[in-house]
Amino acid sequence: MTTTIGRIGIVLALVLCACSMMMAQNPIAPEGVKIGDNAPEFVLKNVDGAVIGPRTYSAAKGLIIVFTCNHCPYSVKYEDRIIALQREFAAKGFPLIAVNPNDTVVSPEDSYAKMQKRAADKAFPFPYLFDETQVVAQRYGARRTPHAYVLLRTRTGWTVEYIGAIDDNADNAAEATQHFVADAVNALLKGTKPAQPMTKAIGCTIKWKKG
């Protein structure tokens, strides 16, 4: 029994090793998902140690996924706004999941321990997941932090309905004139499609692992 587990361990280690080698050769995110695509399922470790993903939200109408991190000043500017999104939309059926995809060798500020500290300091009302292998960010095609996705539940999974910025003014929430994520969720709640399904924003590069 012990031997079998040991062997499984070795096989798993080899598989993980092979995965990280493949990623090292191709560190740049591929195209990722597009509007209307099925959203990739995933499970990642939360700051409280729980392992969760979209499937965890069996009753949700949709999800807001935000790739973000500790160190990026643009992410920090948006922290209170993603807290507000969770407060407004979780109760309406669109809870928010934050995902940190940064390599902690390149960006030590984004380590799991520091994520735990930030989540506690800011009392994040949403899970803050660690995408340690960066596979989730790659599958989604996330390119910067913050980078938001809005998913809508379908019969069999989720579709991608919005990709992009949270709003149109990073420096001053009060001066934002377009609230892209909130507008997208409100459209989906009304049974319509987001008027602007893709937007761009300035942000920090995702810190990909170095080969």
Partner: protein, 157 residues
């Protein structure tokens, strides 16, 4: 008091605002010049790390056989101009012209620079009369020089 104000004015480095339209006018007036436009911000650690490479390019710009103009375009917020951006520029004293981009609605202006740009910085835009390339990446000094040389070799006058 007046002397103090004059001194302060002389010592301060002002970073003017530009719009994308202003930059386009600069490009159009530049005729033969190749513009190396680096989008950066004081808050962006990898951007700040690569600025010396752009300083080097500016200081050696006479050795490429064609006029090269290095422009550092800051994406710092208006309210950080006098408290962060200008003190930074003063302290570093780079040989590059520094301006601050005064554009709102990034979801619109990012595409005007290059639809392929995802919006992360640093990003470097090399602009000649006939050709434009946006590099959404960081550069070492060597990589920057090689990239500029490669651009020049494919962009004959």
């Amino acid at each position: 008091m007046i002397v103090g104000l004059v001194l302060a004015a002389l010592l301060s480095t002002s970073v003017p605002d530009v719009t994308l339209a202003d930059l386009e006018r600069r490009f159009a007036a530049g005729s033969d010049t190749v513009f190396v436009v680096n989008f950066w911000a004081t808050w962006c650690t990898p951007c700040v790390a690569e600025l010396p490479a752009f300083d080097h390019l500016a200081r050696t710009s006479g050795s490429y056989g064609r006029p090269i103009k290095v422009l550092l375009v800051s994406l710092d917020a208006q309210r950080d101009r006098s408290t962060k951006l200008e003190p930074f520029v003063r302290k570093r004293a780079y040989a590059c012209e520094v301006v601050r981009l005064n554009e709102t609605s990034p979801h619109l202006w990012i595409d005007r620079v290059d639809p392929a740009w995802q919006g992360s910085i640093p990003a470097t835009w090399i602009v000649a009369r006939d050709r434009r390339v946006l590099h959404e990446r960081e550069f070492t000094r060597r990589e920057l020089i090689d990239t500029v040389k490669s651009f020049l070799s494919r962009s004959p006058r």
